[in-house]
Amino acid sequence: MTLDPLILVAAGVCLLAGVGLYGLLASRNLIKIIVAMQILTKAAVLALVAAGAASGKINLSQSLAITVIVVDTVVAAVGLALGVQVRKRFGSLDAANLASLRR
């Protein structure tokens, strides 16, 4: 029995997205949140490449994937810089400390 490579890729996308979403939901450490976001975007890049391969529009999918990678890098850089500032101000990386809407 041969596996369609697309199904393998789809499973990979689901796995990556699941890990990323779980990380976003469950972790309170800012660094871990940024890492989870990176994993989530990698799932999106993989999905784009696979979609390009499936539909034949490889050029379009690759250029979109590259755009996502570039944007993602910027997001990571800004996020990490914010993390440094948060650590300086609050003394910890716990996202729960950032909630100013307290009752």
Partner: protein, 595 residues
């Protein structure tokens, strides 16, 4: 010619608003001048537009007149075209807004002298005038809604003009919330029309709606518009915002809360009457709203002690007459009453403004005997009051009789008698108001002086208007009948009207009721037994018949539920992400189900 005039009428005041705010509050003289100049010029444009429209519709077209009063600017996309229509309803209301607007601004030169922040004051009045002209001239329902909301916002800002005063701020917010609520009805009707007809054009809607839109949808639109009109024109059950709006400077009350913006609801009902006339229960609902409002507000005017609140209740009551007039199919008579009312109520408000400016209180119990110190104001005010009471040969007499006559011919008999009773109440509270302010012995030591020159000019012109506007009834009729073929307008010239009114028994009945009202107002001190009998209902009227209680209940309920909902806003990052994911999931499911 017509497109240019329409655009100038709307954009000229807006340009003035911009200039006044640029001028800055360090140059008050320049600000006064700019405001008066720009409003007066836009008034001239609107009057030219009116005179220009008249011959077109009478079939005599001079060479210099553009024959097509409709024009549109293509905008593309979802909003449709920005289209304007210079027909009878529109041009005369635009003329009222700009002419009375310029008189109110002229009055402000004296009234607001020495005030700080004149820029804000004049800018919003001018912005309002332009928006009001746009509201009545546009032929696109979505833009009608936009202009509608601009006028509501200007009204809010101007009510809260004295923003150090918590009462003024509360009054402004109340007016804003209630009129916004009505705006939803208007938007709902407009969107519904768009989904069925594919256009926002009012003309298309009026022509095709009764046949093209299914009955259920049409009645939603009809009652949505009725809610919008009731909220804007302070009709039952939304009447409570207008008395609280009296915290505004008095020229603003005269312009926005008596002569123009509150008429927008009546305009809306009149404009869309042919489309909704066949909706079952709609006309009855309009009649009921008008009658209930007219009577409730008249009772409240009878017991109020604040001069401006008496006038506000009276405005609500007279608007009830106009709404009733539309409900019984008398579009023409209700529009004539709208014209009369704008003139005499602006006069009354400005007269009250002159008094308040001079004695620095609004409490009528502290006034009395002011007539000797302010003879000019007294004469002008009495002219307005007689017109309000419906005394012959002033404009209020003609229009009120016309409304009562349409009610007698086409409406339910019980509504007619109730409105007749309302006319008597009007006479009583008018007499009481004039007597308490200008006659009798002074009840407290008040330093009073007569109105300044700018005030006198404004008052004099409006008093002249209150004596003469009825002479134009015939021309006004041709204008409306020519432009609104679907409204089935029956109009009469002044002579026929006079002949008809003075031969009808109903007129003498109404006059008798008015005279009885005046007599009761005159002898009210001696009728202590009667007044003590009426003490309990008078208490209800002072408590605004429980409507304030309902308002407070609603606002408390909203506050409580908002308090409860605020627990969902924890500010925790993980919960927010969970919310985003949930939203995404719902969208995904909807997309899958949709396809």
């Amino acid at each position: 010619m017509v497109p240019a005039l329409i655009l100038l009428t709307i954009l000229f005041p807006w340009a003035g608003a911009l200039l006044v705010s640029i001028t800055g509050d360090n140059h008050p003289r320049l600000q006064h001048f700019t405001a008066v100049f720009f409003s007066a010029v836009s008034g001239v444009f609107a009057v030219i537009l009116l005179l220009n429209t008249l011959p077109v519709w009478e079939g005599i077209v001079p060479a210099w007149v553009a024959t097509d009063p409709y024009f549109s600017i293509p905008l593309g996309g979802a909003f449709g075209n920005v289209s304007f229509m210079a027909d009878g309803l529109g041009v005369y209301l635009a003329a009222i807004a700009t002419v009375i607007g310029s008189l109110a601004i002229l009055f402000s030169v004296d009234y607001m002298r020495g005030e700080k922040q004149l820029g804000r004051y004049y800018a919003y009045i001018l912005f309002f005038i332009g928006a009001m002209a746009g509201l009545v001239l546009t032929a696109n329902m979505l833009f009608l809604f936009f202009f509608w909301e601009i006028t509501a916002l200007c009204s809010y800002v101007l009510i809260s003009f004295n923003n150090d005063d918590p009462k003024a701020v509360a009054g402004g917010i109340k007016a804003l919330i209630i009129t916004q609520f009505g705006g939803i009805g208007l938007l709902l009707g407009a969107l519904l029309a768009y989904t069925v007809l594919g256009t926002y054009e009012i003309g298309v809607f009026i022509e095709k709606a009764p046949l093209a839109i299914p009955a259920f949808g049409l009645s939603i639109a009809a009652f949505g518009f009725l809610v919008a009109a009731a909220a804007k024109s302070a009709q039952f059950p939304f009447q409570t915002w207008l008395p609280d709006a009296m915290e505004a400077p008095t020229p603003v009350s005269a312009l926005i809360h008596a002569a123009t913006m509150v008429n927008a609801g009546v305009y809306l009902l009149a404009r869309f009457y042919p489309a909704f006339e066949g909706v079952p229960g709609w006309k009855e609902a309009v009649i009921a709203v008008g009658v209930i409002t007219a009577l409730l507000a008249a009772f409240m005017a009878l017991v109020a002690t604040d001069l401006k609140r008496v006038l506000a209740y009276s405005t609500v009551s007279q608007l009830g007459y106009m709404v009733y007039g539309i409900g019984v199919g008398g579009i023409f008579s209700s529009q004539v009453h709208l014209l009369s009312h704008s003139v005499f109520k602006a006069l009354l408000f400005l007269g009250a403004g002159a008094v308040i400016h001079s004695v620095a209180t609004r409490d009528m119990r502290a006034m009395g005997g002011l007539g000797k110190k302010m003879p000019f104001t007294r004469i002008a005010f009495i002219v307005g009051a007689l017109a309000l009471a419906g005394i012959p040969f002033l404009n209020g007499f003609w229009s009120k009789e016309m409304i009562l006559e349409s009610g007698l011919v086409d409406g339910p008999r019980i509504a007619y008698y109730l409105m007749l009773f309302g006319a008597g109440l009007t006479a009583i509270y008018t007499f009481r108001m004039v007597a308490m302010v200008f006659f009798g012995k002074p009840r407290s030591e008040l330093h009073a002086h007569d109105a300044g020159l700018a005030m006198k000019i404004a008052l004099g012109l409006l008093a002249l208007g209150a004596c003469t506007t009825w002479l134009f009834t015939g021309r006004f009729g041709t204008l409306l009948a020519g432009t609104l073929p679907l409204h089935s307008i029956h109009y009469l010239g002044v002579k026929e009207l006079a002949a008809e009114l003075f031969t009808a028994k109903a007129t003498y009945l109404a006059l008798g009721v008015v005279a009885l009202g005046l007599l009761l107002g005159w002898q009210r001190e001696r009728l202590t037994q009667l007044t003590s009998l009426l003490r309990i209902p008078a208490g209800w009227a002072r408590d605004s018949f429980g409507f304030e209680w309902i308002n407070r209940g609603i606002s408390a309920a909203v506050r409580r539920s908002a308090d409860g909902l605020s627990y969902t806003q924890s500010g925790q990052l993980n919960w927010n992400i969970a919310g985003i994911l949930l939203g995404l999931l719902i969208l995904l499911i909807l997309t899958v189900l949709g396809s």
